[in-house]
């Protein structure tokens, strides 16, 4: 495993009609690191993630993925490149089944014309069962509606989905929000396991303990700027609380 940057952002700015949400952010995300992103409400964490995941485009600045400059037109581009994002709000459709959710936007098809075609529902069922088992989640059936799952289970399915599509980078924006202690532990365990399977992660949380527990590098943001960027062993809780 090497320490090349997988994602580099250079002088990134984002304006939302009058709000300067991201101010000149320059950062490297390395292949062998899980990065913890912390900061107050409105610090610009989600904004940075939205730019990396193609949800929005930067007002100014550049993003490099595996050394190449990229400008994602939408989430599909970023997903295609290998950036999987699990969003702050749930990125699942509650009224649809687990199998359907697993493949939204990337449905396997038996045949298709011009991008529209007949679903391979069998493959969807088989692969989603496998994907869910792979993240050590036990669900009875891939046909259960996501709306029937608990918050932790949903997050588990989101993670299973990201894993299934062989992401190169996994971004998790407050994945433990609204989760009970036990389910939180499960998600944290998963984030730790990313390192062992060699997938770099970006983990956003308001719980600094959690970030210290799972991450190799701490990046703190305040008012749209990066105010701290250190390996976990080179910093501590007090320092981080001070800069925020």
């Amino acid at each position: 495993m090497n320490s090349d940057p997988i994602i580099q952002v250079k002088n990134l700015h984002k304006w939302y009609s009058g709000v300067h949400a991201l101010k000149d952010v320059t950062l490297d995300f390395r292949r062998n690191e899980t990065v913890g992103l912390v900061g107050d409400n409105g610090a610009g964490k989600s904004t940075l993630i939205n730019l990396l995941s193609g949800m929005q485009s930067p007002t100014e600045g550049e993003i490099f993925f595996e050394g190449n400059k990229v400008s994602f037109k939408g989430p599909a581009d970023a997903m295609e490149a290998g950036i999987e994002t699990i969003y702050q709000y749930n990125s699942m459709v509650p009224t649809m089944s687990i199998a359907r959710n697993m493949f939204i936007g990337r449905e396997p098809m038996k045949y298709s014309i011009g991008g529209i075609g007949i679903l391979d529902t069998k493959k969807m069922a088989v692969e989603s069962v496998q994907a869910i088992a792979d993240v050590d989640l036990h669900l009875r059936s891939p046909d259960a509606l996501v709306g029937e799952l608990s918050g932790g289970q949903r997050q588990g399915v989101a993670i299973a989905r990201a894993m299934h599509f062989k992401s190169k980078v996994m971004i998790l924006d407050e994945p433990t929000n609204h989760l009970a202690v036990k389910e939180t532990q499960k998600v944290l365990g998963f984030i730790k396991s990313l390192k062992t399977i060699g997938i770099p992660g970006i983990f956003i949380s308001h719980n600094i303990h959690h970030v210290f527990e799972c991450c190799d590098r701490m990046v703190a943001m305040a008012r749209g700027e990066v105010v701290l960027n250190k390996r976990v062993e080179d910093t501590n809780m007090t320092e981080i609380l001070e800069v925020l």
Partner: protein
Amino acid sequence: MRRPSNVPSNDTISMKRFFKIYLEKPELAGLVFLAILTIVFQARSGGVFLNGVNLQGILGLLPEVALVAMGVTLLMICGEFDLSVGSVFALTPMSMAVLLEAGWPFLPAISVGLFVAMAVGFVNGVLTVKFAIPSFITTLGMLFVARSLTVVISGGFPPLLPLNVIPKWLFVTYVGPGDMFRVSFIWFVVIAVGMTLLLSRTNFGNWVRATGGFLPAAKSMGIPTKRVKIACFMICSLLAGFAGTLQVMRLGAPLPSIGEGLELQAVAAAVIGGTALTGGIGTILGGIIGATLIRVIDNGLVLSQVDANWFKMALGALTVFAVILNAWLRKKAKSIKVETGK
């Protein structure tokens, strides 16, 4: 199979199963209504309701309402409304009739008519997604615009359909055992099957459900939600236009007033068939069942020699009742979590 340690009683299991089935088949309640009403009307009309002549009447008219209901159902599942379908129902055949009167052959004339329908849907869709306004408003505007256009192009006098150029055998002639239905019914069945497959078996259908079910999630998974919505608006409009064309060919004259109030009947049909107003939930079959129910109530009341003015009352009551029932069932079903092994 691992058994849970605290085995629930048979009662709660069957309740759970019932709610689960309901969630997967939201059109069930409508189907039950339909069965009950059929029995009631059959009894009250002394057996006339299900006899050949009466069924012929119901089945002959059904495709027109059901096609509109299907489109509206699809659009509602996608999270949008279309109040302009009643006007498109009139505008499409009027466009065709005006061209036929001007001497155009049938095929180009009907093509232009259907193209007009799709264009209306396109405008509805683009206005709705580009300006992020509720489709309730855009299509309410279109309801007036399209109706007005219909009257204007008719020139005040509805043109006469040159009956000799219309291939009646392809649309309105009676076929089947005992002339049970019109050719339009075959069109309807084929389109219904196609729409059902589109929604349940294609990736496009998956996107429609995701878009209406939870828009932010659909967007974040890279689905072109705006284009999906515009496509649904266009399909909805096209079906309404085709349905209107069928009606005009059946009647033989394009009246500028046809289809008035149809938009609300279509919404009622969708809702009675289990489509959620909030999007994401519903089936094409549900819309058809809803439309059938409406036709059955209309027809059954007449047969039972009830004052025809009770029709709207019955329709209104049923719609509200269906929504309340669906909301209640959904809430119940939601409170049941799936069990996990450990």
